[in-house]
């Protein structure tokens, strides 16, 4: 089954150039493909600074990430988003160094769209359900796999779901159900959103499943100085969530929290006039996050245990969500110049800093991208983590890593 899915997905990619050429000559009502294809190579330092992570001697892990959106004319039909990864691991098998090749194929999203009278929309399949206003994180999101800011390749993995959406000019209503293997685990949720109040967007969401707690979330974004030219790009947003009980499994030996929990995110962004530098800052707080003392206990346990696999698996479910308070800062210059300069016009720069305010460990990423050929981009990003021995990122992220990606748009 998996091999068939791989074959189908790769076939779609190989047929892509033929499809796009045909599109140029055929009427616009024909079948259309659009999306991007990213091939990446990654290299990491072997271990985290203090960490329990045992990085294998992986030689140039590589991945192919593709997004294919399907349409007939300008009518959306669906989307396929998948990642095909390959890594070679030098392993010691019975005292003999051996090369193990690990292949993986993950369908991140695969859904079909239906449109009833340009008013009611159905989306069925594995999809990412839009939940929060947060840019980098959606701490109140109970449904989608969490975004991991320490991973170079963000896959935007979704969940198998059926969503019905009624979009009107004043109010939009979305109802969805998430499917799991056992029907008794199915989750149900809804969202009401509106931009009717001038200068603001808000949404109220709720989710419940028998296997998890209920969740309620409020999202609000405003542009407070939208009436002032030059200041009108300043935007503020707020994301807040309430849960009937803790969402994350316990991290022994730290005692698990009990009762009502909450998360809160506040963000601000602005684009500088003329130079068009985009600035973004976010702060978030998790009531389920550990205190500095609890983090210290947790990482001492990780260092001392002989088999940290189980604990690492639990930690993997909460990337950048171990502590209580975090700050994120980002500066992006999509083009150094915007004046047609033959070199600098094609170079973009970005830097971001994620700081765990509870333990003061930090995770930094710098990126540079350039375009040699139209509709392609070459991106190099370098990340490093720092912090004391009780710091989240110093324990759970590689001390240094680099990723080179080639993106082709079609």
């Amino acid at each position: 089954m998996k091999q068939a899915a791989i074959a189908l997905a790769l076939l779609a990619c190989f047929l892509l150039p033929a499809s796009t050429q045909e599109q140029a000559s055929s009427p616009a009502t024909g079948f259309r493909l659009a999306g991007d294809l990213t091939a990446t190579l990654e290299a990491s330092a072997r271990e985290a600074l203090y960490g329990p992570i045992e990085f294998g001697q992986v030689t140039a892990p590589s991945a192919l990430h593709a997004v294919l959106s399907f349409a007939r004319g300008y009518r959306a039909l669906g989307l396929l988003d998948f990642t095909f990864a390959d890594s070679n691991l030098l392993a010691d098998v019975g005292g003999v160094p051996s090369l193990l090749e690990i292949l993986s194929f993950d369908v991140n999203q695969f859904y079909a769209d239906l449109n009833f009278g340009d008013l009611l929309y159905l989306r069925a399949g594995k999809q990412r359900l839009k939940w929060g206003a947060g840019w980098v994180f959606n701490p109140s999101d109970p449904v989608n796999p969490p975004k991991d800011p320490t991973e170079a390749l963000q896959t935007n993995e979704g969940v198998p779901a059926l969503k019905a959406e009624l979009i009107t000019s004043v109010l939009s209503l979305a109802l969805f159900s998430i499917f799991y293997e056992r029907p008794e685990d199915f989750g149900f949720g809804g969202k009401i959103s509106s931009s009717a109040l001038e200068g603001s967007d808000f949404s109220l969401s709720a989710y419940w499943s028998p296997a998890e707690s209920w969740t309620a979330a409020l999202n609000l974004s405003i542009a407070p100085l939208y009436f002032l030219p030059g200041w009108d790009t300043i935007q503020l947003w707020l994301e807040g969530g309430l849960y009937g009980e803790p969402r994350y499994p316990a991290l022994p030996p730290v005692a698990a929290p009990t009762g009502l929990q909450y998360s809160l995110l506040a963000g601000v962004s602005a684009t500088l006039p003329v130079v068009r530098t985009a600035l973004l800052a976010e702060y978030y707080h998790l009531s389920e996050g550990l205190s500095a003392g609890e983090e210290s206990t947790l990482f001492a346990e990780l260092r001392s245990t002989t088999d940290p696999t189980a604990l690492l698996a639990v930690l993997a479910q909460r990337p950048a969500r171990v502590g209580r308070d975090y700050a994120f800062l980002s500066v992006t210059q999509s083009s150094i110049t915007d004046n047609g300069h033959p070199v600098f016009d094609h170079i973009g720069l970005s830097s971001s800093l994620l700081l765990n305010l509870t333990d003061l460990s930090l995770f930094v990423r710098h990126g540079i991208s350039t375009t040699f050929v139209e509709d392609s981009a070459l991106e190099l990003s370098v990340t490093w983590a720092a912090g004391g021995q009780d710091g989240e990122f110093a324990n759970l992220a590689p001390a240094l890593s680099a990723e080179l990606g080639l993106k082709i748009y079609y």
Binding site: P27, A28, T29, A34, G35, D36, V67, S69, A71, G73, Y74, R75, A76, L79, D113, N115, D118, L119, Y121, K130, E165, I167, T168, S169, S172, S193, S195, E198, G199, D201, S221, A223, Y226, F227, L228, P229, D232, T233, Q235, S269, T271, P273, D338, N339, G340, H341, P342, D345, T371, E374, D375, S376, A377, Y409, Y410
Partner: protein, 253 residues
Amino acid sequence: MKVILLLALASALCLPAFAQSFPEGEVEAYIQAADQLVLPLNCKARMAMTDTFGSGQEKSSEGFFIRKDNKVVFVNTAPASQKNFALLRNEDLFYQRFANTNKVVKTSATASSRGGETSNLDLTRFNTTLDYTVAYLGRESVEGKDCYKFELKAKNRKLAYGLVHAWIESGTKLPVKRSYYAVAGKELKYYLVRSVTLKGGRVAAMEFLYVDALKPDESSQVRMFDVTPLKNVPEQFFTKEYLESGRLFPYDF
């Protein structure tokens, strides 16, 4: 002192006599009719743009837009790296959807989200009298055409350039030129209409050349074509929620 007062009073009384009277009736109604000759209130059209920079480099892009009175959504269809970029004007609010993601954010009216010399306003403002108060300034010959010249003053600085001069060909009601000025009175840019194709008494295609008045070697050529009136356009196409859903706009072009 009395002499000064008398002179001031006399000049105020004489003012209407100096002001130009518009030969075609009410100025605002004329501008609205001229706007609708270019674009019907409900319509769809395609656009092709080429930005030329001082270095001689050029960037091209294509897209389409859908209009429902004062609501406009513009979507890029080429180059591939810019597919899915969308600019939405819902009355006085502007939103931008980033290319290749469905992330939607508010944006500024006077910024140029797609780059080049065309601002977000230029791509989405088709109803002049909504954003400007209009006054007739007289007749002038521009590009060899006999034109009426109008002065457009911004009703709301957030949504418009402080001052605009517009030239409309007297015989055809078609635009010939517009000059955009900063509040301080400095000319920022202008556009010239390079060609017009009429079909069935209305514009089917039109080509504009936007020129940076401060850097005249930087320009954007905008070709609007396949202009097609639509009977009805759903309101929800002009909402942030629709843009975020990542759906396209179900029209054939």
